[in-house]
Symmetry: C2
Subunit: 344 residues, 2 copies
């Protein structure tokens, strides 16, 4: 019997299409591995081509090497093909006496994650991934301090199905001048939950998931990883800090390093067990002005792109998933054939 | 300068990324035409294979031929790989003392649009497309009369990027036992607009678009076709009835036939000018209980799948489009090199 499940956080329903569901191992991709060289002279993000990007806004590099020289470990640069531009008016304007517009003012940056062309978060050393996440936090807090923007979306697109054609390992961040309506709705739902229950819906979810066990993927000192009860698509994964905190930028350096290793481990498992699936991840965090709220809680959502949203999703907002979250969690929880962390 | 535009209907913002926008003709696909045979003996929807689908729920066929025989023009059958099942409990149940679930009860049907394997809405004769839309209306109203369901989503997925791998021309409909949260939010926004202005936001949009001219694609006696001001993606197209009506099922037979020809004409132009792009279309209609509301208005949304939603969209709900709606409308408005309908 197919099942309708409702998310406590978004109130959105999903359909778990049991009549056509697949077992976790059936999602493993049959395609051959992406074969890339460690260095591509034509790649704008490979060392030696620093002049092909706008000047960097942040970098980790060895010793006293100059900005925009080739000796970097991580490099953050404005996106040459930017979605938003760094200056313009913040005023909302009326169009045709009916619509509302504003200048597309914002920050759009690329985090080049490694000098190597052929690695990814799931295959890099932990120390490298730690610096990627520290760079996220650095830029997040610098944009917060700038004071002109409402929020920052930090995200990673891996593979063509996830919306990128650039192979060099990179993430992006976009700061927007408005609170996106979608995020406002999440905040509203979370606030309503808080008003009803006197507690954070994300903290309560974490407690329920820990007690329920079957959707747990892994747990570390400060982070909890699980398959959401109302997962939108196969192998959707949530990573949440155990301690209540609305704002990613408020994570400590140690927490950020731990987070990096957790994300790396989850992506390493997906890479090995599903054969390098395309995926997006995104850091969900409160808008700057809501950074200290009791009712919101930052998290990372990983969404492998193994299926395609079609007309039904477009019309209803209801996702149809062909994987059972409890089975997906068990599959990702097991390492080298043995079950670890939560019991299966 | 990139631009942020807000939809009056959904309140969602989109980014028109002018810095990396393409001209309409640059979206034309370079791939070679899909070459399909008119009949595929292995296709479950081709004539002769009626036994490979569940028994039909509706059909247009010549003369007195028996149900499920091969002499049909349109055939509606339950989806063998159904997302929802036709019987089960309508009760909401609590899970883990925290979540909410219900049986995935609903109707999931396939509208087989033609006995020919290698046609599509944009390449079929008008009379055939008229019967497709009359079949939609027939099934919509039959499910309404059934009385157990909240709404019906009628949609079409064309091509792999739009979520289908079945080549035989077909649409689908899914009746859900709940009002999807996404649709509830649309209704709420539309009601709020009505309370503020005393008018339907869709009727007002139509008036503004007709006056503004530049986003008009075409207009017939009863239908108006335009590129939404806040289009989510390149060549998004809205088709709305000019007369206020919340419910697709209430369209008259004549209006339904006219609608079919309008949809066919738009898809024919997209097919010719963009080289057979993958697309979804969906009929947005009020839930049955809201069929007579003053504030909602049914419509068809066509969404070519020329770009991929990525991590930023996932995190923010803000779509980034690389086409300027006014240019897309002009491109689709022009037929055989000359501008017709609204002036350019």
């Amino acid at each position: 019997m197919p099942e309708l499940r409702q998310s406590r956080v978004t109130k959105d329903w999903v359909i778990v299409a049991t009549d056509r569901a697949k077992r976790p191992h059936e999602f493993r991709l049959q395609r051959s591995k992406r074969e890339l060289p460690p260095h591509d002279p034509a790649c704008p993000f490979c060392p030696g081509n620093e002049g092909n990007t706008p000047p960097e806004t942040f970098a980790y590099r060895d010793g006293l090497a100059a900005a925009n020289s080739s000796s970097w470990r991580i490099r953050v640069v404005p996106n040459k093909f930017r979605a938003l531009a760094p200056s313009g008016s913040f005023d909302r304007q009326s169009v045709n006496g009916f619509y509302r517009r504003m200048d597309g003012v914002g920050i759009h940056e690329v985090v080049v994650e490694s000098p190597l062309h052929n690695v990814s978060i799931g295959t890099m050393p932990g120390s490298q991934v730690e610096e990627v996440f520290l760079a996220y936090r650095e830029r997040y807090n610098a944009i917060w301090k700038d004071g002109r923007f409402s929020t920052v979306i930090i995200f990673r697109n891996h593979g063509v199905a996830a919306g990128t054609s650039l192979e060099h390992p990179h993430s992006q961040l976009i700061a927007t001048p408005i609170v996106p309506t979608h995020i406002r709705r999440l905040l509203d739902e979370a606030m309503r939950y808080f008003d009803d229950h006197g507690s954070c819906v994300f903290c309560d979810t974490l407690a329920v998931e820990r007690r329920t066990v079957e959707r747990v993927i892994l747990e570390t000192e400060n982070f909890f990883v699980y398959a959401p009860y109302a997962s939108q698509s196969p192998f959707e994964t949530s990573i949440v800090p155990k301690k209540h905190n609305a704002c990613f930028g408020s994570a400590s350096e140690l927490e950020t390093r731990e987070l990096a290793n957790v994300v790396r481990l989850v992506l390493k498992r997906m890479n090995e067990k599903l054969n390098d699936p395309d995926y997006n991840y995104v850091i969900h965090t409160a808008p700057f002005k809501d950074a200290n709220e009791d009712y919101y809680h930052w998290s990372i959502q990983i969404l492998p792109r193994l299926t395609t949203q079609a007309g039904f999703e477009l019309g209803s907002g209801i996702s149809i998933t062909t994987a059972v979250p409890e089975e997906s969690a068990k599959f990702l929880r097991e390492e080298n054939g043995k079950t670890q962390g939560a019991s299966a």
